[in-house]
Every structure is written in structure tokens, then in C-alpha cells.
């Protein structure tokens, strides 16, 4: 606050000659700021999607006696949390115009590794979790380095990594699942703090930090620059490779976090975990308005996209829709929601 205040004074002083008096300037900028903020919220690209999600929640609360219960909200919240962690990382990658298909396999790898470490090797949970996270980060480092240095499209690199990481988890575990985790570990997946599931806390913190990083830090700016125009970014002195690698590390590490939480949630380390999560995560980001061509989008949209996808799944069960037709319904709803969002945006 003080730093900012200082800056303002310094700058207004330089324009004292021709500019308006100081208090006036302060006044304009304040009221203008409020108006600007409001306008920004209302016309934000995410607003209609937000409205859709809210309407869905309202509708569900009305249509099903089970939806708006502590039990169900806990359930949905935890599901959203686990998916959100991956979607947030995916958003980083998509923002630079890349894609990460290996996140689901990272979940499996981490699931197996944490099982091996805690159950079979008997390491303390904290150590095991750190090791598993490190493995996740390493996967990202490999993805990012190959992409940045060899110039291989991220789709190919991470498609390869999808197979490699899944193969490793299958090879390491020999296909079998691992259970018998210590209760302390299971707490992070199954427990609650102040009545809210632990994964929800973690995902919320991660999402807020990620939003902050993207909107307020130089690293975040660099990500948008690289995604918007890589050539121009390079010519603006941005270390494009470093940005790329970091972004893949973020995505893999967050997938690893989600994998650890899911392992704790399910009490089982399994090489089959995370199958198809990449599509869910990419879908959540894209539905939330992040462009696959890079440079456009953000965490707010991704959070809404993730919520929409998982609320639909929950809703279809609560409403008693036949499981055989649920997929068809959910597909139509997704496209409908995005169409509404598009239509609103175009009208503005």
C-alpha cells in the first residue's frame, strides 16, 4: 500500500504543470476504478459461464432433494477439487499454446510410486509425498525440455510421455494395486478441516495462487506473451524456453498433487489411475474459454469449466437419468453451455 501510494505521488508531481490538481486526479482514478472493475466483472468472458453454473446449481437444488445437502456438496466439492488441480496446470500449458496429454499417466505414476514408497518401502508419508511430487516435476521437466530444445510439438512429446509414464507405472507395480496406506496419509484425501474436505482446501489455495501468478507476476505475463506471439516474445527478450519448461513442470507437478490426493482418497495405489484425465482437463480449460491456440484464458474460466463438467455428472445421477443415456445428455449440456456463453459474448 505505502509503496503504491508513493508511486502515485511521484508521478502526479511530474504532471503538476498542465494536469489537474492532485485531489481531483485521485478522485477520478478512484471512481473510474470502481466503474472499471464492475464493468470488467460484468463483461468478463467468463460471466455467462458463471451464470450457467449458478443456474445449474439453483436448478439442481430445486429438482433434487439430495443436491444441496452437506453430504452431496462435500462429494461434489472433492471431485471438483481433484479435477481442478489438473485443469489448472493444463491451463498453464494451453496458455502458451501447448498441450499436456501426460497428466493422467502422471496421476498413475504418482499413485504407484507413493504406494511403493509408503506401503512397500515403508517410508514416512511426508517423504513419500515429496518423492512422488519430485517424480511428477521431473516428468514435466522432461516434457518441457524436449519440447523447448528439440522443438517437437508438445502434443507428440506428451503423447509419448503418456505412454512412457503409464508404462512405467504398470511395469513398476507389475499391474497390481497397492493398498494399506497409513491413516495419516489417507487423511489428506478423505479427511476434512473445518467441515470442508482437505482436497478442497488444497485445490482452492492452488487455484487462487495460480490465478495470482497468471495475472500479477512477470512469470504470468511471460506465459501470455509466449502464447500470444512466440516470435514477438523472443524479440521482447523473454526467455521463451525457460517459460515453456516451467509451464510443463507446473502442469505435471499439479497432476502429481492430484494423483497423491486421489490415491489417498481411494486408499489405493493403482497403475490404471488417471485414465482419460487429460481430456477432462483440456475440456475444462477450453470450456472455460482458454484458447488452444494460446494467449487467451485464465483460471477463473477453468474453475467454472471444471465445475460444470463435474456438476453435470453429479446431476445426472441425482436426477435418476439412466446411466446408458447419461453421456449423451452431458455432451448436449456441455455444448449448450458453451454456445450460450459464445452467443452472449458475441452480442456484447
Amino acid at each position: 500500500m505505502t509503496i503504491n501510494g508513493e508511486t502515485v505521488k511521484r508521478i502526479t508531481q511530474t504532471t503538476l504543470d498542465g494536469g489537474p490538481a492532485l485531489p481531483a486526479a485521485a478522485r477520478t482514478s478512484l471512481s473510474e476504478k470502481v466503474r472499471h472493475r464492475l464493468l470488467k466483472i460484468i463483461t468478463a468472458r467468463e460471466s455467462t459461464l458463471g451464470a450457467v453454473v449458478i443456474l445449474l446449481v439453483l436448478y439442481l437444488s430445486w429438482a433434487s432433494p439430495y443436491f444441496f445437502t452437506a453430504g452431496n456438496l462435500t462429494v461434489v466439492g472433492r471431485q471438483i477439487a481433484l479435477a481442478l488441480l489438473i485443469s489448472v496446470g493444463m491451463t498453464f500449458v494451453i496458455l502458451i499454446g501447448g498441450i499436456d496429454l501426460s497428466v493422467g499417466s502422471v496421476v498413475a505414476l504418482v499413485s504407484v510410486l507413493s504406494g511403493e514408497a509408503m506401503v512397500n518401502a515403508g517410508l514416512p508419508p511426508v517423504v513419500a509425498v515429496i518423492l512422488a511430487l519430485a517424480a511428477g516435476a521431473l516428468v514435466g521437466l522432461v516434457n518441457g525440455s524436449i519440447n523447448a530444445f528439440a522443438g517437437i510439438p508438445s502434443f507428440v512429446v506428451t503423447l509419448g510421455m503418456l505412454a512412457v509414464a503409464r508404462g512405467l507405472s504398470l511395469g513398476i507395480s507389475g499391474g497390481s494395486t497397492i493398498s494399506g496406506f497409513p491413516p495419516g496419509f489417507l487423511y489428506i484425501g478423505q479427511g476434512a478441516f473445518l467441515g470442508i474436505p482437505v482436497p478442497v482446501w488444497i485445490a482452492a489455495v492452488v487455484a487462487i495462487v495460480a490465478h495470482f501468478v497468471l495475472t500479477r507476476t512477470t512469470f504470468g505475463r511471460h506465459i501470455y506473451f509466449v502464447g500470444s506471439n512466440e516470435e514477438a516474445a523472443k524479440l521482447s527478450g523473454i526467455r521463451v524456453r525457460r517459460v515453456k519448461i516451467s509451464v510443463f513442470v507446473v502442469a505435471s507437478t499439479l497432476a502429481a498433487v492430484s494423483g497423491i490426493l486421489e490415491t489417498a482418497r481411494l486408499s489405493v495405489g493403482q497403475p490404471a489411475a488417471g485414465n482419460g484425465y487429460e481430456l477432462l482437463a483440456i475440456g475444462a480449460a477450453v470450456i472455460g474459454g482458454t484458447s488452444l491456440f494460446g494467449g487467451v484464458g485464465g483460471i477463473l474460466g477453468t474453475a467454472l469449466g471444471t465445475s460444470l463438467l463435474l456438476l453435470i455428472q453429479n446431476a445426472l445421477i441425482l436426477l435418476g437419468i439412466s446411466a446408458y443415456w447419461q453421456q449423451a445428455f452431458s455432451g448436449v449440456i456441455i455444448v449448450g453451455a458453451v454456445a450460450l456463453n459464445m452467443w452472449r459474448r458475441q452480442r456484447n
Partner: protein, 302 residues
């Protein structure tokens, strides 16, 4: 209203007496018979029952469905776990909420389920292994095609198969390939195995999609009858393969009867009329169906 009514919000979930079956997946024909068994029994018992599962085998997705189902407070739940450990937590929650849960089709050890109705997968595997040994004359190269290397029930069957084959020293297991629960991949893998092992004596298909793939590969290689094929579950393609001379034995669980009986058990528990004790095990058994016994089996199965 049955479980397959797609319409409306006034679905069965609103009525308190809904029983829910949680299969591993929907896209495997094995579950069709199971669902029919459930629907049949529900009609007879005058209750509502629903069949809710992920599109394809997926432990996390199944737990998510289980989660949501708990919120609707059903009258009883039968679970066929993709992964037993993953559903323990939800079973405990169900118990705390007073919802009876039984393990069906696959057991959930170390959990608070009331009991288990189904078959012993390891035993079934042994039976398959023995059937194979017998059909290849106790010697030669054999190969396995398995739906997934990480599915618990399939691994149990594989374990049984290996156990049985171990007692036949002249039989050599030369290949184990994965089909990813896809008939197309199963057939592809089988075709390739046949190329790599021209003198192969027999195949075992472990998952529901595997035997159809094997049968297709044998047919296209003109090796029906020469190379023996054993698999699990009497699904339409298995039957067709057997009728075409490409399948030699089917190790069959009885999903129709098993599921019908499971619903009966749940209804009894719900009405506090069950005579079954805690941790009951109802083994519905497996039968080895051969071309000779196929017609008979089909008559009695439903």
C-alpha cells in the same frame, strides 16, 4: 419405472425404496445379463432398482458415482468394485448412514460390507487353466490375452490360470498381451501372437472382450479348432464363436442369477428379514461350458 428410463426428473431416486447396483462398467456385454437379472428380480419383488456404472472400467469414476449415489440415500447398494480398496471408505459411509451394502461379483475384503455374492475369480482362473490344459492335450505353447494388466478381477483370474498351468510342465505360456478391453485390440494382439508363434496350441482370453478377439483372429487365420480357445463369460460372441467351432470352452459365471439373487439379499436386509449372517459368502459358482453343454447351459442360465 425401471432403471433404464431416460426421462424426467421424477426418476426412481425420489422414492425411498431404490436399490442401486454399481457395476464396473456398462460397455461390456457381461453386464447386460447382470442388468437383466436385476430388472427381472426387481419386477418380481416389486421394487425399484438402478444400474449405475462408468462407461468403461475406471476405479475413480466408479467411486465418484458411488459418492453421488450415497447422497440419494438408496435402500441398498450392491457394488462390483473396479478396485476393492477404493470403495472401502464409501462403504463405511454407507454403513454409517444405515444403507446396507453388499459386494457383488467381486469381493471387498477388509470392509464393512455385509457379505459377498459372486464367484471366486482365482478359482475360476484355475478352472480355465485346467480346461485349456485338457483341450490342448497337456502340452504345447499357449498365450494369454487380458483386458487390462491393472484390473483386480482380471489379475485374479490370471493368477488362477498361471496356477493351473504350473501343474502342467509341458505347457508353456509364451505370450501375455493386453487388449485394453477392446475387441479390436484383442483381435489384433491375437493375430500378431499367431504370427509370432505359428505352433501355438491354445489361447485364454481373460477379459470380456478378449475371447471374441481371439475367436476372430483364429477364424481369419483359419485356425479354428487347431488352436484351442478358452475364455470367460457366455456373451453372444462367445456363443457364436463356439457355434462356429472357434471356441472350445467358456468359463461362465452366472451374472443373471447372481444379480437377481443379490437384489433379493438386499431387499431382505432392508426389510430386516435376512437370515444371512455377517460376512456371508454366497458363491454362485462357475461352470465350464463346452460345445456339448452349451445348449443345456443356455436353457438354464436365465
Amino acid at each position: 419405472s425401471g432403471g433404464s428410463s431416460p426421462s424426467g426428473t421424477s426418476g426412481a431416486s425420489d422414492t425411498p425404496g431404490t436399490y442401486v447396483f454399481l457395476p464396473k462398467s456398462l460397455n461390456n456385454p457381461y453386464w447386460v445379463d447382470a442388468r437383466k437379472g436385476m430388472e427381472d428380480a426387481a419386477a418380481k419383488l416389486g421394487v425399484t432398482a438402478k444400474f449405475l456404472g462408468p462407461d468403461s472400467d475406471n476405479a475413480a469414476a466408479q467411486v465418484a458415482i458411488f459418492d453421488s449415489v450415497l447422497a440419494t440415500h438408496p435402500a441398498g447398494i450392491a457394488i462390483s468394485p473396479n478396485d476393492p480398496a477404493s470403495v472401502v471408505d464409501n462403504i463405511a459411509k454407507a454403513k454409517a448412514a444405515g444403507i446396507p451394502v453388499i459386494a457383488w461379483d467381486g469381493p471387498v475384503p477388509n470392509s464393512e460390507v455385509l457379505g459377498y455374492i459372486g464367484t471366486d475369480n482365482v478359482a475360476a482362473g484355475v478352472q480355465a487353466g485346467e480346461a485349456l490344459a485338457k483341450s490342448v492335450g497337456n502340452k504345447g505353447k499357449v498365450a494369454v490375452v487380458i483386458g487390462s494388466l491393472s484390473a483386480v478381477n482380471l489379475n485374479q483370474r490370471l493368477e488362477g490360470v498361471k496356477k493351473a498351468l504350473a501343474s502342467h510342465p509341458d505347457i508353456k505360456l509364451v505370450a501375455t498381451e493386453v487388449s485394453g478391453e477392446s475387441v479390436a485390440t484383442a483381435q489384433t494382439s491375437s493375430e500378431t501372437i499367431l504370427q509370432a508363434n505359428p505352433d501355438l496350441a491354445g489361447f485364454i482370453g481373460i477379459g470380456g472382450s478378449d475371447l471374441p478377439g481371439i475367436a476372430g483372429a483364429l477364424k481369419s487365420a483359419n485356425k479354428c479348432g487347431t488352436v484351442k480357445a478358452i475364455g470367460f463369460d457366455v456373451v453372444p460372441q462367445g456363443v457364436e464363436g463356439m457355434n462356429g467351432g472357434c471356441v472350445d470352452a467358456l468359463i461362465s459365471q452366472k451374472p443373471f442369477g447372481m444379480t437377481a439373487q443379490a437384489l433379493q439379499i438386499l431387499v431382505d436386509f432392508h426389510n430386516n428379514k435376512s437370515t444371512l449372517e455377517k460376512n456371508f459368502v454366497v458363491d454362485t459358482g462357475v461352470v465350464t461350458v463346452t460345445p456339448d453343454t452349451l445348449a443345456e447351459f443356455q436353457k438354464t442360465a436365465h
